[in-house]
């Protein structure tokens, strides 16, 4: 496999981590996170500073990035998650801008707007692929567990969920923390794949791209998130010429999806053996009818 395709594959895995987190938070728990790039930045900068300035091992640095990101999510979640969802969305938007401001101005630590160059590229294909598969397995199981169903209950009707004993604040904060951890991990891997980081990599555009992936794939489906991460990461790479129009199309796409098919491409369909079997029997029945 040529290096180019390996690169795209690694990027898909890195994006998938951040998209999985968002899918759990926005799709399954119903909280709109506008500032995913902020968590990527926290993870990326924490990990990078630890590997470049303190020469810590990669795994330890990644772990620190994950923890730092989770900690920030608790700080933001505590005041905002008890209130209406709008407060949360605005706070995440403000948070990601605040992170970018801090990174740009703490020049000694972060290199300011020029960023940090020459980061050792530890993120290889096995590392990225392995992490993505483990994360996928964990999130898919979480969503189907009792806790995951509680999250869906909160999304559908918070008052009703509370009335049957679901602690909605705790579950929202937990979803937010998992999302932040995955984003922090994604950021750490990204920094050590690209080899340099600068604040402009973690702008609102990055947050937008990630949220579009979740919406496009289907907000209530992990399969959809995976599918969207694969297509929307590789398509722009292959269609470099249309780069400028990409975000215009994304924006229009989001509106059209919300108006026409808000459940996204996959709806809540999941790629499980049982579902595939049902689909195949359906096809077979159709085919036999045709004969």
């Amino acid at each position: 496999m040529s290096e180019y395709y390996v690169g795209i594959l690694i990027l898909i895995c890195i994006n998938l981590l951040a998209v999985l987190g968002l899918s759990l938070l926005t799709g399954f728990t119903g909280l709109f996170n506008f500032g995913q790039a902020g968590f990527l930045a926290v993870g990326a900068y924490t990990a990078t500073i630890l590997t470049t300035q303190y020469k810590l091992p990669f795994a330890v640095a990644l772990l620190a990035g994950i923890l730092a990101s989770a900690l920030t999510s608790l700080v933001i979640g505590y005041p905002t998650l008890r209130l209406k969802g709008d407060y949360f969305a605005i706070a995440t938007l403000g948070f990601s801008e605040a992170v970018r401001l801090l990174v740009e101005n703490l020049e000694k630590l972060t290199g300011g707007s020029r960023g940090i160059p020459r980061i050792p590229t530890y993120t290889t294909l096995p590392v990225a692929l392995g992490t993505a598969i483990v994360a996928l397995w964990l999130v898919a199981n979480y969503v189907r567990s009792r806790h995951g169903r509680n999250c869906v209950a909160i999304r559908e009707d918070e008052l009703a969920a509370e009335s049957i004993g679901v602690n909605s604040f705790r579950y929202k904060q937990f979803s937010f923390a998992i999302n932040a951890m995955l984003a922090g991990l994604s950021g750490g891997l990204l920094a050590h794949y690209v080899g340099f980081i600068q604040p402009s990599m973690f702008s609102l555009i990055k947050s937008t791209e990630l949220i579009v992936m979740v919406i496009f794939g289907g907000m209530h489906s992990i399969t959809g998130a995976v599918f969207a991460a694969i297509t929307l990461t590789s398509l722009p790479e292959l269609l470099r010429a249309a780069q400028a129009w990409r975000l215009v199309v994304y924006g229009a796409l989001v509106v059209v999806i919300m108006v026409v098919r808000p459940e996204g491409l996959m709806g809540s369909w999941e790629l499980t053996p049982a579902n595939v079997k049902a689909l195949l029997t359906g096809f077979r029945a159709l085919w036999q009818e045709g004969e």
């Binding site: 119903g30 709109f32 506008f34 005041p79 905002t80 008890r82 209130l83 209406k84 969802g85 709008d86 407060y87 969305a89 605005i90 706070a91 938007l93 403000g94 948070f95 801008e97 605040a98 401001l101 801090l102 740009e104 101005n105 009707d157 918070e158 008052l159 009703a160 909605s168 609102l204 937008t208 949220i211 579009v212 919406i215 400028a244 129009w245 975000l247 215009v248 994304y250 924006g251 229009a252 796409l253 989001v254 509106v255 999806i257 919300m258 108006v259 808000p262």
Partner: protein
Amino acid sequence: MSTFLQQIINGISIGSVYALIAVGYSLVYSILKFSNFAHGSVLMLGSYFGFFALTLFKVPFWLALPLAIIGAGILAIINERLAYRPIRMRNAPLLYLMISSLGASIFLENLTIVTIGPTFRTYPEVFPIAPFMLGDLSIGRLDVIILIIAAVSMALLTWIIYGTRIGNAIRATSYNMRVASLMGINPDLVVGLVFFLAGASAGLGGVLFGIKYTVWPQMGILTLKAFIAAVVGGLGSLPGAVLGAVILGVTETFAAAFVSSAFRDLFSYALMIVIILIRPGGLLGTITEEKA
């Protein structure tokens, strides 16, 4: 002492522009109960309308301003028709409206970048720059003019909402859309009108901001300030939005003047977090917890 006074006036002036933006956002929020993220794009395009009217078509300022305001208002109506009304008609979750508004804002912002270009543009000089002198106190002429225009339009908006039959309909709809429609108010008409008013005030805010600073495709991020102002004052409350905006403007100017202009925005976010922690409903709002 004189710097202090100058900063206060500067802060109130920029706060009045934030207030224009925040009032539109709050108005839409009070009717449809969702955060309209496309508000910033309407503001940005309003600012471009004014800019091109002045530079490309050489229209005098007194005509360019209403053109930009009406253009932005109509744009907001179109935005509502295409991106929100079909979702509203299905009684879909409010989250979908918020996501759709995000899509609309990505679309408009990037369409502007692709077609008009990503550069910062400066308005031609519409007002003489020389400051007023009051003793040894120099006051920016632009700040005062912006403050006056913003205050007059705010008074007009207040009159429309609190002093006319139409405003009565708007307020009734914001209390309860279903009951208002039972009383013979056409909710779609009210929503269209609210979007026009919100878009128009955003357009005016955009032009004033463009005159004071510059115009650029991402200037919609300014609405983040309006969101903060609205949260500080109380989501959905109009007087709250104005109060929050002025507090925010003064806080920012003081942070920039006496601490560091690089960290100016951090103070805005800190202000918001402090308010949410101490008084989650905002200064003039009621506490709004998630209810079914």
